[in-house]
Symmetry: none
Subunit: 212 residues, 4 copies
């Protein structure tokens, strides 16, 4: 969730009304994220979300036209945050720094602070049923584009597009599974392995750590 903050707080500042509005929207989104993860989309009633945010249902509908709209916005922010995070990390990557930067990125992603795959999992199916489907589908593509850029900058010797497609799925899948289902596996060893997997696949050398 932390991921999805930066982008926002931009416009509007003076009018206390707008400030209140913003605060309410934030409160609602955070409450919704909590309730969605805890109860699942179906059981997350708008009343419950509003209550969790400390406001009335009526107010919720003042800011979001529907329950779906909340999910869409939540997913959008989540994804934007994720893309921004990855893009920022990979901004200055090159052949030499590739390994360490990947490692750092993986560490970021594996911190529950930087990513909330449980939320993603709850939302994805619902949002895809939405008219916002189009918009949402761009997400992986945007991530891929960032990766393609990094591969190009590192002059990796493989099909950049295909590799980016694969890498996005690989990393997200492992990270999500670890964070949601196997927090026990969230260790430096895992980071090592994933780094080795990625760097090796891309074709750069990695010194193997001797097996325990």
């Amino acid at each position: 969730m932390a991921v999805m903050v930066k982008a926002v707080r931009a416009a509007a500042r003076k009018k206390p009304k707008q400030e209140r509005s913003l605060a309410m929207v934030e409160a609602l989104l955070q409450a919704a994220a909590r309730v969605f993860v805890k109860e699942g989309y179906a059981k997350a009633t708008t009343n419950r979300i509003a209550a969790a945010a400390g406001v009335s249902v009526g107010s919720l509908y003042q800011y979001f036209p529907s329950k779906d709209a909340i999910a869409v916005e939540l997913l959008r922010r989540y994804r934007d945050g994720l893309v921004a995070l990855v893009a920022a990390r990979l901004e200055r990557v090159d052949r030499v720094s590739f390994g360490p930067i990947v490692r750092d990125l993986l560490c970021d992603l594996l911190q529950a602070e930087g990513i909330n795959p449980a939320l993603h999992r709850v939302l994805i199916e619902q949002v895809l049923r939405t008219t916002a489907r189009r918009e949402m589908l761009g997400f992986e593509e945007r991530l891929e584009a960032v990766i393609v850029g990094a591969l190009r900058a590192s002059d990796a010797d493989l099909d950049h597009e295909l590799a980016a497609f694969i890498l996005v799925r690989v990393v997200l899948a492992v990270v999500q599974s670890v964070v949601v289902d196997r927090p026990k596996l969230n260790t430096p060893d895992l980071v090592d392995e994933l780094t080795r997997l990625v760097v090796g696949y891309v074709g750069f050398d990695v010194e193997r750590r001797p097996r325990r």
Copy 2:
């Protein structure tokens, strides 16, 4: 075969039209799969499923105690099939045959025969909210166990458990994403890349195919 509680109870009586019952259960499951994928879990009402199967709601409830039970059974079958497929393929793997066998397995998985990731995606969130959660979570573990066996048989030089965990996620994620979202990418090149990824990660040599 195991078809929820009620069906079992029904099957426990003599066996009058056991055939008809079985056919009905199959029809219901297939209809449910279709409706779940097409409409999403929420919109897939029991009435709609029954209608799609050409039977009455009452009959549906004769064989499944609830909508969730259908989802659970569907997921169970899907996963059982997947585990069986992988286990069969890897049965006689060794260091030498590792590469080709992995390649063949990937081909199988990418053929989407017997694999329906769209369905999987619709079900997973819902079923995880179910009491069947435990049973379902065992799926990845079972797959991992199979992989661990293969790694051991191939005498791979890495942490078998951790590697198995990673490989299961990696392969499933890429395969499912391709099948569901990017059928265009479903080419021999993809198989090559994935094979290379897996074999390379496990530490066996792969001859790089020259980049196009």
Copy 3:
């Protein structure tokens, strides 16, 4: 339930088919009585009743056109039995024998064997909604008629009709409440008191038993 047997077993004897039919009807009625009392009318499904009788629903509908029909028949038999019992007891009543006969009758009624007020209570509301309402409403009247006869035979000095109306309600109410809700009160003392109440009301002398 025992009350409601005598009247029936009349016609038919030879044909084994009819015998089986009769047996089935009996089994169904007894099973229904049990299930109605135990579960209440609403929860007493026809399947459950059939199962309790050891037959199939289909067979149930062979003999009774509807669930209501079972209730109606049950109530009819119950009431017929009760009227018959009371009539038999009061047949030869006169001013002298009035007290002892009333006492005996009360003893009969208070034996769970002779009366099943719980069943009566479950059925009455439902059956009154039935088209059989008319027929059933005659019950109290028939009992009253019997009582009127007894009062006349005993040459009691009061409004026979009004007294009969009152006595029927009084006795049934107390008996039902005792049997259903307060079996602990089902003692000789109760019989004494009720006898005294009735005999006193009718205007005949009763020797008061000294208070404990």
Copy 4:
């Protein structure tokens, strides 16, 4: 006043339109009473009750968690009213005033004001299946306690508890039967007879009115 769980919870918040809520609860209870009596418990669907009250089903469920809850509340009110009435009448009874007070009480009861035995009859069976059974069973006990008090105050020479048990059933049964089934019998003569029955049973003298 005590209006089921949800209502209480609702009432616990500030008190916005407490009035409207109360009015709605009243409307629902009255509508329910009407529908229960007219259609029977089974046919009295929550939708029908809500419609009869001129509100939506949703509102019904805002105030009552279930159909049973309505029945329970209705029965509770009915019984509370009855106990209060009897208790008020008997408050200052003594040996001398016993007869006239009983007569007045019977008149009250037979006026059917505040007494609705038809409703009572519909509800009793259903509510007894409820978890509220215990509470409801307390009703007769409370009435009996009031009667015991009256008998003691009047220094009646009999087993107070047993007599109270009997008297409660006797009076209620006759009164209810008259009101529901034989309004024609609702005459001064009936009051006389019942008074005579009660007073005679309790052991006080009653001057017999000469028979018509």
